[in-house]
């Protein structure tokens, strides 16, 4: 029977692994720039972050809508493929790691540093024909493990209306503040913690808004993309392929409205909800799990906004999350709940600030917090799992044209989570210092 401290540490480690393992597979696709002859800056505030024109291009199914979108217009030598990789140096620091000593185990600060590589994304996307678009992203971890990060086809402008678009396959959820276009790349700062958060001890790995999911999505938008609404039906398997894995589904819904604020830019407000069910245990055959069952509810909902003050912009994101007590306690639903068990819930948010000096130079800063409002058991410390994260970086793009992208990114990120140190149960801090050479061609 694992101790509570071990459980906490395992939980924290799981959270860190979820975040660290999800090295951002960000999209900035020079193949599009080559196809249309537009510089990266036409679609990206600073790549991979989309600007209002790039968001419209994406929502139109990677089409400029100028009757030159079908591949039939392209030179046969055009190849809709781009690659991305980030050689880097980084230093990781964790202040409390259980280290074996003569007397047993003791907490110790551990630093590690050295040269490293990110994984590699192969980004292939575009149109198969007018109003039929696709994205295929075979992605290789830096250890050599290969997988399909994205694989979808989309039918655009059905009934000649921008309000009727359907996507099928494995895709990024319709997040305007997209983790796939996050500007930071370090282990700590390279993900939005809220997009992957689960309370300590919680077994729900399926409520992750930051992960690409398998399913189908309807998206509608006004012609100028100021109004957007989408609904997706997803398998609650966190994008894992092959049936059977779980017979549960989730939905992701979002709507937003943008406003033209003159010289300031285009501001946007919106709301989202991810609701569904996730399994709590697996059926086994000869001791091997083969089908996850015992579905219980979870939900994530909140609001977001993009606010522009000329070169300065703020991305705001808030979330209220809740899981069923069985998920919160990591308990199979065919077992009895302990007395007092309740749905764990939390609130969190982040503010990401960008100052775009010009399309080739951008400063990025982010503050993120998560506060537990209710633990799965009243006896658990109320602050257990509370999290704060800070990131500061800038990206400099020495070149900016329509053939390739190259950015140099120094970054420092710090994260602190309450009550998850492996032995003392105090707060655990981890930090990343990072210098990456991010290239995309």
């Amino acid at each position: 029977m694992p101790s509570f401290a071990q459980s906490k540490f395992a939980g924290a480690l799981l959270a860190v692994c979820l975040v660290l393992g999800l090295a951002p597979s960000a999209f900035g696709i020079p193949a599009f720039a080559r196809k249309y002859g537009l510089p990266c800056s036409a679609c990206h505030e600073a790549w991979p972050k989309l600007n209002v024109f790039g968001q419209t291009f994406k929502d139109n199914g990677y089409q400029l809508m100028n009757d030159r979108d079908s591949p039939i217009w392209q030179n046969p030598s055009y190849w809709p493929v781009a690659f991305r990789n980030t050689p880097n140096w980084h230093r990781e620091s964790i202040n409390k790691v259980a280290v074996d000593v003569a007397s047993g185990a003791a907490e110790q600060k551990v630093n590690s540093h050295g040269f490293d590589l990110s994984g590699m994304d192969i980004l292939s996307g575009g149109t198969l024909y007018n109003n039929i678009s696709f994205l295929l992203v075979p992605s290789m971890e830096n250890t050599g493990e290969f997988g399909l990060e994205s694989a979808w086809v989309r039918f655009d402008n059905l009934l000649k209306s921008p309000w009727v678009n359907f996507k099928f396959g494995k895709f990024e959820l319709d997040n305007i503040i997209s983790e796939k276009r996050i500007m930071n790349l370090s282990n700590v700062g390279g993900a939005y913690q809220l997009y992957h958060f689960a309370p300590i001890g919680d077994s729900n790995a399926f409520g992750q808004m930051g992960d690409n999911q398998l399913g189908m999505e309807w998206l509608g938008h006004s012609k100028d993309d100021r109004s957007r609404v989408s609904a997706a039906l997803l398998s609650s398997n966190d994008g894992s392929v092959n049936l059977p894995n779980a017979n549960s589904y989730a939905g992701f819904f979002t709507a937003s409205q943008a406003f033209d604020t003159g010289k300031l830019g285009v501001d946007r407000f919106g709301a989202y909800a991810m609701v569904g069910q996730a399994p709590t245990y697996s059926l086994t055959s000869l001791g091997n799990p083969f089908l996850a069952v015992g579905n219980k509810n979870f939900s994530r909902e909140g609001v977001f906004g993009l606010f522009y003050l000329k070169k300065l912009d703020f991305s705001l994101f808030f979330q209220h999350g809740s899981d069923n007590p069985y998920l919160g306690l990591g308990l199979a639903s065919n077992q009895a709940l302990p007395a007092g068990a309740q749905s764990p819930s939390w609130n969190g948010g982040f503010v990401e600030t960008h100052y775009t000096v010009n399309p080739q130079f951008i400063f990025i800063q982010r503050d993120e917090f998560i506060r537990m409002s209710k633990q799965a058991l009243p006896s658990m410390p109320s602050s257990l799992g509370n999290l704060d994260a800070y990131t500061f970086s800038f990206r400099w793009y020495p070149i900016m044209f329509s053939r390739a992208g190259f950015a140099i990114e120094p970054e420092y990120s710090l994260m602190r989570q309450q009550g998850v140190a492996p032995i003392s149960g105090s707060s655990l801090s981890s930090s990343s210092a990072f210098l990456g050479f991010d290239f995309d061609f």
Binding site: Y36, L38, V52, L64, N66, D67, D260, T261
Partner: protein
């Protein structure tokens, strides 16, 4: 010896004069352009400023239109049709007579609408103010916008109701002003001149195929179509017919052209009901083209 030293002196003096002139010319040119950075655009209540448009131009436009607006951006060599050379101050989509400058609103609408069948996308996701600022910056490239005013805006009378007579009359206008020579007797861009057309820069250019496309370079409404042939598309072989077609006839021509396009329009239904056949350029003008 004396001759040789004189020659060298003359060459040296020439080189100095040339270098000095070039420097002066460069300074004057730069000075002119700097002066034009005060350029404004006025679209309704919006006022655009060239200095605010410069970073937008560098973000969105420079790849095709180039840093000095001459249409020689890094991607220009790959693009067909070629990007516009703003320094000439010549624009296709105008509400003003041929040869005159467009209004700011004409340019504003072009940026928002994009140019169909070209690499110029619709930039309407940008804010209205951004587009107004871009217009001011685009204008600053050409000294024409300092020396000249836009021509008078074409007055377009209200669109009359669609009738069979007007569709038939429009076909006769199509024949009389010889649209068919480029666009073909059926409007399929296969007229006898279609293969020989070039623009003002001697680049091959194709006429519009009415059967293939629903949108035009300079708009998609009936009023846009009216405007296109009454003002012409400067720098292309498409002339202005403002002097050849009366306003009422122009609406007739619009209705006939709409009957050719691949949409379900009232004009198309009328043409089908009439059994309207393609024109016969060799037939006498009064002869009906119906069954």
């Amino acid at each position: 010896m004396h001759t040789r030293s004189t020659t060298w002196s003359l060459l040296l003096a020439g080189a100095v004069v040339f270098a000095f002139s070039a420097a002066c010319w460069g300074q004057v040119t730069q000075y002119d352009e700097d002066q034009r950075m005060n350029m404004e655009s006025h679209i309704g209540k919006l006022t655009g400023h060239a200095k605010d448009g410069k970073p937008l131009y560098q973000r969105f436009c420079i790849g095709c239109h180039g840093p000095i607006g001459d249409g020689e951006g890094e991607n220009a060599q790959w693009i067909d049709p070629k990007p516009r050379n703003f320094t000439l101050g010549i624009f296709k989509c105008r509400s003003t007579p041929t040869g005159t400058l467009p209004t700011d609103e004409d340019l504003y609408n072009t940026i928002g609408r994009g140019l169909v069948s070209s690499n110029m996308p619709r930039w309407f996701p940008l804010t209205d103010q951004d587009r107004a600022d871009l217009i001011a910056y685009v204008k600053h490239f050409s000294p024409r916008f300092v020396k000249e005013k836009p021509g008078p805006v074409l007055e377009i009378p209200p669109e009359p109701p669609v009738t069979a007579e007007r569709v038939q009359s429009g076909q006769q206008v199509f024949k009389r002003v010889e649209c068919w020579k480029c666009h073909g007797v059926e409007g399929r861009a296969n007229g006898p001149s279609s293969d020989t057309l070039t623009d003002d820069f001697n680049r091959p250019i194709k006429p519009f195929n009415f059967h293939d496309e629903t949108r035009f370079k300079c708009g998609e409404t009936d009023r846009d179509l009216y405007r296109i042939f009454m003002t012409g598309l400067d720098s292309t072989p498409m002339p202005s017919f403002g002097d050849n077609i009366k306003p009422d006839e122009a609406w007739d021509l619009v209705m006939y052209l709409r009957s050719l396009q691949p949409m379900n329009t009232p004009e198309k239904a009328i043409a089908k009901k009439l059994g309207l056949k393609p024109i016969n350029p060799n037939a006498p003008a009064a002869q009906s083209e119906t069954k």
